[in-house]
Symmetry: C2
Subunit: 261 residues, 2 copies
Amino acid sequence: MENAGMITSTGNGKVKRLVQLGTSARARNEAGVFLAEGPRIFREIPEEDLTGIFVSESFMAENARSFPAGVPVEVLTDRVFAHAADTETPQGILAVVRQKQASFREITNASAPFLLVLERIQNPGNLGTMLRTAECAGVTGIMISKDSADIYNPKTVRGSMGSVLRVPVLCMDDLTEGVRMLKESGIRVFAASLDGKNAYCEECYTGGTAFLIGSEGSGLSKKLSACADVQVRIPMEGRAESLNAAAASAVLMYEVHRQRM
Amino acid sequence: MENAGMITSTGNGKVKRLVQLGTSARARNEAGVFLAEGPRIFREIPEEDLTGIFVSESFMAENARSFPAGVPVEVLTDRVFAHAADTETPQGILAVVRQKQASFREITNASAPFLLVLERIQNPGNLGTMLRTAECAGVTGIMISKDSADIYNPKTVRGSMGSVLRVPVLCMDDLTEGVRMLKESGIRVFAASLDGKNAYCEECYTGGTAFLIGSEGSGLSKKLSACADVQVRIPMEGRAESLNAAAASAVLMYEVHRQRM
């Protein structure tokens, strides 16, 4: 492997741009791309969504492989790659991937749609876990408020283990409008709330179902919660004040899955 | 408030000791203590388990409060407190708390014991979430392998939202021996496994129940998995390889809770 074109400086413009795409949601959104790190997720990226590939020198040496034609590939020294990568143990390959915004039709496209509606989720890791659990539980789509963590935050992409590539996500300014549309489509909307009247497992989820999940710190806003058809709670023993948002949504989503099995 | 005794230097021996207790599991275990940060968890610490209190200058100024007699209280300048604290936004109060090792009897002390057996859980945040969900789902105790993340890691303590103070935890060198004891006590042992024969929700959990949960990366060891009475899997749609360990254990624990309601 000749290294004529290898990038050897963290001051290189392309490297600076990579770091920017990793750290700034605005930069990602303006460019309409995000970063996905590691060979595992790389294999899952549809070729037409790849806009750039960055690999470390050692990755290149250890993985003789062909990359899709027409996608620019840059080789970085290991030190420069580690600088650009978000993880503590860089995995040698970083892809620049096209963002996808799903339509309302896409997130509800099923005989019995099953949605997660996320309001102001703050923690990127939690959000990634939610995306991953959602895919596993058979969610048909996710609706998320613009003031949530960015689904393309590198921590979210990593926590989702690739689900961010596969679960349709619609990002909305106004979730109350989104919920109105869901109800108009005949989808029953459940608000997860600490003081919900019914236990979550006393409801029926075999028809079109959507769960409203609020932020880790303060739960659902009153305004959005009031839009739901039913308030449900997850019963809790002991003295903890609440469940972790990702754990709570896992419990709810798998109750739907169980009932639909 | 006079500041005659205020600690103003990060080089102070007590501050160095605090940092050590925050960063080193060995230091914590040798001293038999751990750190709990913030006023919320502070209120829950039984007085007899408190061995020291560290507060920031502004916390002291804003919260005129009395501390339990006989527990040494140190006031730190805000800068020094921020240095000692583990969080990005320090909450002004750090408690040094006695560790508690539960006995086998304590973790199984119920008419229908309900246990989580954790093998090599690596992520302190995941472990904290598991402790919190365990308390909420009514788990009677946790058994954890010595090579897991430390339940007293500050990230675990924080993620547990105080549950680490309330859920009995028994740390063991050899989990196979622990599982043998559980089975001898008439507790049915379920291994959570990707290739389990039965779906988790096809089993009955109203009697004594224990779940074996393996590490995030590699799941349960064959050796431990082979000790279980039944292998169960959580059915998954889509193409993700597995659920996050904290999400998976939430689904399992709440199925037990649902059946016992």
